[in-house]
């Protein structure tokens, strides 16, 4: 580990997952798209880290790179101290069972030709675990499904919310340490979203999970996360505990994101500006040719010459709150 260790990584004994200088590049035609560049963060046992950003910011790619599906182009993923990027073959298959994933589209996450019971039992069958039937019934009951009546049906006989419950049951069957949730509620009806969010909180407590929760909805992320990391165009721009980050966003991008959320309660923000100051300008640049220096500078209202020359490093702005910006917004003006 000769790489410089960023200041926002914590020196603690209970770090379950540590991502160090993770980069993922995809070849697209003749170009190389830098989907993720030098992203580092850590997650402590029992913590939920929210990973937010808009489409194309690389948040889902980070989730998959943690699972080594596919492996990152550069960087390290330490899971319980073990560098997963060093593993291959059987050892990787073994270690990977400690991390599980659930996805955005619950219907395409389930093989339509298999019965629910077999889907949930898949991991147990692969590893030849004993008492698989008992375990399947237990996790299905835990997510609110009756194994006796639901087990023999096929996924298309269930609604989206129920399919997501099946996905959660499947991911829990192997008793993982870490659950990576990639937009788990975005495809669901509003009235079903809350059920799944509550269920995830319950499962986290019951099975002592550590979670990485990837989503674009800032309110959803705030609800479920202890810490939040904000990504823009393949880079981390701000990370910190949820309270501080939402109350005092220091990065201009985080500020723009928070100010854009339509709040369901008009009484709560009567004075909200509809035509306020411009928080964002222009268009998202191509990830194949990202801007030099700070990647947000082309759209930032505060950008200066230095932003084009120098890549901003993470710096501490408050207790457990770090921002990668040369000119962070530090005055205590809360956006909301």
């Amino acid at each position: 580990m000769t790489d410089q260790i960023p200041c926002h990584l914590r020196e603690r004994d209970d770090i379950v997952l540590r991502i160090l200088q993770l980069s993922v590049n995809f070849p697209v035609g003749k170009q190389t798209v830098q989907a993720v560049t030098n992203v580092s963060f850590d997650v402590a046992r029992g913590e939920t880290l929210g990973l937010v950003g808009e489409s194309g910011c690389g948040k889902s790619t980070v989730g998959r790179a943690i699972m080594q599906l596919p492996a990152p182009s550069a960087g390290h993923v330490f899971f319980n101290g073990q560098d997963m990027t060093d593993l291959a073959g059987e050892a990787l298959r073994q270690t990977r069972t400690g991390l599980q994933m659930i996805f955005q589209d619950p219907i395409s996450s389930l093989n339509p030709r298999r019965r629910v019971r077999d889907i949930v039992a898949e991991g147990l069958t692969i590893w030849g675990r004993e008492n698989a039937d008992t375990r399947v019934e237990e996790v299905m009951a835990a997510v609110g499904l009756d194994a006796a009546s639901a087990g023999d049906r096929r996924p298309h006989q269930f609604s989206g919310g129920q399919c997501q419950r099946i996905c959660i049951a499947r991911s829990l069957a192997l008793d993982p340490d870490v659950l990576i949730c990639d937009e788990p509620v975005s495809a669901l009806d509003v009235s079903v979203q809350a059920q799944i969010l509550n269920l995830l909180e319950d499962m986290k407590a019951r099975y002592h999970l550590t979670m990485v929760f990837i989503a674009h909805n800032l309110a959803v992320v705030k609800n479920i996360s202890d810490r939040v990391a904000v990504m823009y165009l393949g880079k981390l721009c701000e990370i910190g505990n949820t309270g501080s980050l939402y109350a005092r966003p220091a990065h201009p991008y985080t500020r723009a994101l928070l100010a854009s959320i339509p709040d369901a309660d008009p009484l709560a923000r009567e004075q909200a500006s509809i035509d306020g100051e411009p928080l964002l300008q222009g268009e998202l640049p191509s990830p194949a040719d990202p801007p030099s220096g700070c990647r947000f500078r082309t759209r930032c209202p505060y950008a200066q010459a230095r932003c084009a020359e120098e890549i901003p490093q993470m710096q501490l702005v408050a207790d457990d709150h770090y921002v990668a910006c040369h000119f962070p917004i530090l005055e205590p003006q809360a956006v909301r």
């Binding site: 705030k222 854009s260 339509p262 709040d263 008009p266």
Partner: protein, 347 residues
């Protein structure tokens, strides 16, 4: 806007609109006895989950539902574009209806990727309706099209107009879709989930744009969404739909300060709020939205409603006006009395 103006200047008046559609599994009761009125310059927000009938309603207003899919339709859709007399769109032959779409009423769809024809330049798609409906010649139409693109906030419109849709980002495409919809200055704009496919920062830009254009053109707008937040600060009136019916209809502020229907309340409470602290327990609505195929009698929300009583399962509650108001309506036998927006959401 006062109420007399609302009555005298209704651009759109929908009365007991009922739409049933054929499907493989039976007749889908997509829209049941929906009534509302919409005045010039006003925005009606229609909120509902998938399967609530909001999109079918929008399409039926435009006469865009395929005829062979329609099992049954009833009710009136009275449309009055300024100089023309009021006319019932439900009775209008397709040919006549076609002349209204574009110049009098326009629609924006959810997905800007599929709403534009990928093989035609923007100039062709923008000038089409200008030349057809307003009889402009090629040069006039092109000039107007460039103005339109500039008006919806597309930089460098003179160059962009000769590009193809795939050369634009999602947000830009939705701007183009809006420009096309507004090309002939319609009196009514129906926006069906116009920002659902877009990122949150782009969503704000598009909603701001729609609000500005609506102000400038004094259009009536129906803004359909599943997100209470989108309509909360942008609609004058909000109609909440559930299982094909409007269950509550009120001016936006009244709705949030004094919601009457348990579904509105439950929906509001189930949404994670940005101002609540982390790990706030959400009040989830049990169960899931009902099937619309041959629905059972009674209130459709009753099986999921915490206040439901025997009567709710037997009779369908009619839509009634809240005493003391003239524009707050709901369809519930046992309306919520407290203002849940003010309550704390702790367990």
């Amino acid at each position: 806007m006062t109420d007399d103006r609302l009555n005298s200047q209704s651009v759109l008046r929908v009365e007991d609109l009922t739409i049933r559609l054929n499907s493989g599994a039976g007749t889908v009761h997509a829209v049941e006895a929906v009534s509302f009125a919409l005045a010039r310059g006003q925005t009606l927000g229609v909120v509902g989950e998938s399967g609530s009938g909001k999109s079918v309603m929008a399409r039926s207003l435009m006469g865009l539902l395929p005829r062979r899919a329609m099992a049954y339709k009833a009710g009136k859709v009275v449309f009055q574009a300024d100089p023309a007399p009021a006319q019932d769109l439900m009775q209008m032959p397709e040919k006549q209806l076609r002349h209204l779409r574009g110049p009098a009423m326009a629609m924006i769809f959810q997905d800007p990727m599929t709403a534009l024809n990928p093989v035609l330049r923007l100039s062709v798609q923008l000038t089409e309706s200008l030349r057809q409906h307003l009889g402009m010649d090629r040069q006039q139409a092109r000039r107007r099209a460039i103005d339109l693109l500039a008006a919806v906030g597309i930089p460098d419109a003179g160059r962009r107009i000769d590009q193809f849709p795939h050369q634009l980002s999602g947000g830009m495409r939705q701007r183009v879709v809006i420009a096309i919809a507004l090309a002939c200055n319609p009196s009514l704009l129906i926006a069906d989930e116009p920002t659902t496919a877009l990122d949150v920062t782009v969503q704000k830009q598009i909603l701001d744009l729609l609000a500005r254009l609506q102000r400038e053109h004094q259009m009536a707008m129906i803004l359909i969404t599943h997100d209470l937040g989108v309509v909360a600060s942008r609609a004058d009136h909000i109609a909440v739909m559930y299982a094909g019916r409007i269950v509550e209809h009120a001016p936006a502020k009244t709705l949030f300060s004094a919601m009457k229907h348990p579904y509105t309340e439950a929906l509001f409470n189930s949404i994670p709020r940005i101002n609540d602290p982390s790990h706030t327990r959400l009040q989830a609505i049990p169960g899931r939205p009902p099937q619309l195929v041959e629905p059972a009698s009674g209130c459709a929300f009753a099986p999921r409603c915490q206040y439901a009583q025997a009567r709710c399962l037997e009779q369908t509650p009619p839509i009634v006006t809240v005493p003391g108001t003239n524009d707050h309506k709901h369809a519930c036998f046992f309306p919520v009395s407290a203002a849940p927006g003010q309550e704390s959401v702790d367990d």
